[in-house]
Symmetry: C2
Subunit: 200 residues, 2 copies
Amino acid sequence: MGAVAGPEIERLVQLLARLPGLGPRSARRAALHLIKKREALMMPLSGALQVALDKVQVCKTCGNIDTQNPCTICTDPKRDPAIIVVVADVADLWALERANATQGRYHVLGATLSPLDGVGPQDLSIDALVARAHAAEVHEIILALNATVDGQTTAHYITDLLQDANVKVTRLAHGVPVGGELDYLDEGTLSAAMRQRTLF
Amino acid sequence: MGAVAGPEIERLVQLLARLPGLGPRSARRAALHLIKKREALMMPLSGALQVALDKVQVCKTCGNIDTQNPCTICTDPKRDPAIIVVVADVADLWALERANATQGRYHVLGATLSPLDGVGPQDLSIDALVARAHAAEVHEIILALNATVDGQTTAHYITDLLQDANVKVTRLAHGVPVGGELDYLDEGTLSAAMRQRTLF
């Protein structure tokens, strides 16, 4: 195909194929779609990428991604400075914001501990979290980490580090997903939901 | 999320979500991936889009997409000018080129006839195909169209128009896909493969 469509299109396809969710074949379709929708899509996308390149940065306080630094959440006076919600990734922060799940602020670790993949504490933004947890205004650290082995390992590690800090350390509840059917749930979730049952 | 990540990121997500293969959720992941891989991916992709915007154009002869006009295939002296392979879309042309399926040149219709969707002959590059088919050097028109109702309707329509032209009109064989298992094939394909069986 390189000889057919020219190296410029081939390069576009290769770069698109590196986006999560796009494989080599769907990247070709995406490139073709862009070329066909030149005015309606390719030009705006090119512009949006340029703007993002110019403006987007990592918040030096919490690790969120934003066009201002410190980010909108860290500087929002309506967000509760007493609560820090710890997430592994900005994607998790976005998910919690979409759910409107907290009025607290965030701390993005950047990853979870994964000894098998060579990800250790030094690869995570843990020192900065411990420093923030010692601030007088902070009363609660909510560990909103994946309910996976790596996520829970990270949660335990951080809990240990925070024992000296004068904060309450909490984690997300386990239970039946809203809209979920009991028949399809694993035993671990079901027994956790039973143990942590609430008054109706 | 708009208020969290800023309108610039939200705009990038919305544009990425319009690529085929990416939905709203995967577009967010893709945007985040781009932002994280700023140097390694976002900058090159921005550049590749700019190059494509500057250079890519539609071949005035065959409708292929290329950085030169007429395209590389139309101007390649090693391609056989006696054969024109008719495809609905540039994606089909790319697929045939990847398969190294023909030494002929191409004609891209741009779509297939689809009365239900309001796609009529005037929406396809059919007049130009008929004109090309009347050139003295052209001996065969290969209709490489989808084996769908719309594709076959289009094939019949074009065949009728080409009756005055001094060309052989052919179409792709039906049969068992290479690597395919008979057990999983539909009856239409199986009976076509039986009818069009070849000597071993």
